[in-house]
């Protein structure tokens, strides 16, 4: 496949796969800008590697895997570059919010978590990954994965089902 054929193929993939890929990115990234960036980066990587795509029928799965790897690489890079020992539980946009009363729906609650915590929840509960698999993917100690999972679950319980917490405290 020559270069222009690669470009044409990736442009076709944008036409056929952009929307489902964007939906996937939105769930991982938590916001429209983050999702747009992830999808854009994914297609730019695809432009480099589209020659490796031997089964066009599986293009969406291949793109999703690429996108997920980019998302995880971004988390690893953030961790290496961060001066903080442990990332914040709350996403940047949620930190200035007044503590919200009432129920949140699942996407709202997940989006309140910072990407580091949201990724652990999505991988453990959504994809059925083990602590070890998550630790390997994020290059974190297994204990850190477990502690993030516990903190995230506790916060999600407060936001999704506060009534069960009220029973606990009574």
């Amino acid at each position: 496949m020559d270069s222009e054929e690669s470009r044409a193929l990736v442009q076709q993939l944008v036409a056929s796969c952009y929307d489902p890929l964007f939906r996937y990115a939105l769930r991982l990234g938590g916001s429209v800008p983050a999702a747009e960036d992830l999808v854009q980066e994914t297609f730019l990587v695809a432009l480099e590697r589209v020659g490796q795509l031997h089964e066009p029928d599986r293009a969406l799965g291949w793109l999703k895997t690429t996108l997920r790897n980019l998302f995880l690489a971004g988390l690893r890079r953030r961790r290496r570059e961060s001066t903080e020992a442990e990332p914040e539980l709350l996403a940047v946009a949620a930190r200035d919010e007044v503590d919200r009363a009432g129920l949140l729906d699942l996407p709202e609650a997940l989006n309140r978590l910072s990407p580091e915590f949201r990724a652990v929840v999505l991988m453990f509960y959504g994809e059925g990954a083990s602590y070890r698999e998550i630790a390997d993917a994020l290059e974190l100690p297994q204990g850190t994965v477990m502690s993030r999972l516990a903190r995230a679950r506790s916060a999600l319980r407060d936001w999704l089902e506060p009534e069960t917490r009220a029973v606990t405290n009574s």
Partner: protein, 285 residues
């Protein structure tokens, strides 16, 4: 161990449904289990937590499989067009050969102007006229705004966060001040790039999106341009890369001031070599 200790222990376990939670000291675990054997309240709490986890898992699996996000996808329509334009502009092998060998030795190929093969000269002229007209309108609008409105000074982080989010792009093909590009950044990088404008708390920020190749792959970047008077925390650097790197979301950024404008160059990599490769050749040597 009392009830409070056991509730804390339960909450600290990564998954209540996981019998082998690991990481919990054996003695603490045995004490908690002894407590749970006789305390009905704590057993109920453990059951509620387990039930919550089951529901959370079910909801997440269902949500991940759901294929409905029409509003967000609609918001992203502009991004799709920008992506197609960016893909069109990335040089492929033949274009790479045209890049000067000095650029290759730095592991970089600067993007040529975006020129769809089918575009006719007259269409390009019309498009350029349109871009300059919009730019002029924006310039007039900005001047009016600066004169008439109460000055708002922006924090650099809020500028970065707003500008790096593509959804915030207001106008494609617009520039605050056409040609207000920094001298200490390789201008070839910006050749053919289409500027856009975002609004941050009433202030306009110009954003130029670009991409370039390195041996490790394609790097995305954005150049932010903002009148220096708009910033509350003026950058100390006076040339590109003189102010160190900041990290914002998925980007690393360096800020500096040249003349009346503050600039931020943001890349999706923190490799210093990638940043250095964007210096004009005379500065890089």
């Amino acid at each position: 161990m009392n009830c409070g200790d056991v509730r804390l222990w339960l909450a600290s376990r990564p998954s209540v449904a996981d019998d082998d939670a690991g990481g919990v000291a054996g003695e603490v675990r045995r004490e908690a289990e002894r407590h749970l054997a006789w305390c009905g309240d704590c057993r109920d709490e453990a059951a509620r937590l387990r039930d919550f986890e089951v529901r959370l898992k079910d909801r997440l699996v269902t949500w991940l499989a759901t294929d409905e996000l029409p509003h967000a996808v609609a918001e992203s329509a502009g991004a799709k067009a920008r992506l197609l334009s960016l893909l069109e502009s990335v040089p492929m092998d033949s274009a790479m050969a045209a890049v000067p060998s000095t650029a290759d030795s730095q592991g970089r190929a600067v993007l040529p102007p975006s020129r769809p093969a089918t575009a006719t000269r007259s269409r390009r002229v019309v498009r350029r006229l349109a871009i300059w007209s919009i730019a002029a309108l924006v310039l007039v609008g900005l001047g009016t705004f600066l004169l008439m409105s109460r000055p708002v000074r922006l924090d650099r982080t809020e500028v970065e966060l707003a500008s790096l989010g593509q959804a915030a792009l207001l106008r494609e093909g617009a520039a605050i001040v056409p040609g207000a590009w920094p001298a200490s950044l390789d201008r070839r990088l910006l050749r053919g790039a289409v500027p856009a404008v975002v609004e941050v708390r009433g202030r306009l920020v110009e954003v130029i999106q670009f991409a370039f190749r390195r041996r490790s792959g394609v790097v995305q970047g954005r150049l932010l341009i903002i009148p220096v008077a708009s910033l509350v925390d003026r950058p100390s650097g006076t040339v590109y890369l003189s102010g160190g790197l900041r990290y914002v979301d998925r980007f690393a950024a360096t800020w500096w001031v040249e003349g009346q404008f503050a600039y931020a160059c943001c890349l999706t990599t923190a490799e210093e070599e990638a940043f250095r490769s964007l210096q004009p050749r005379r500065l890089a040597t």
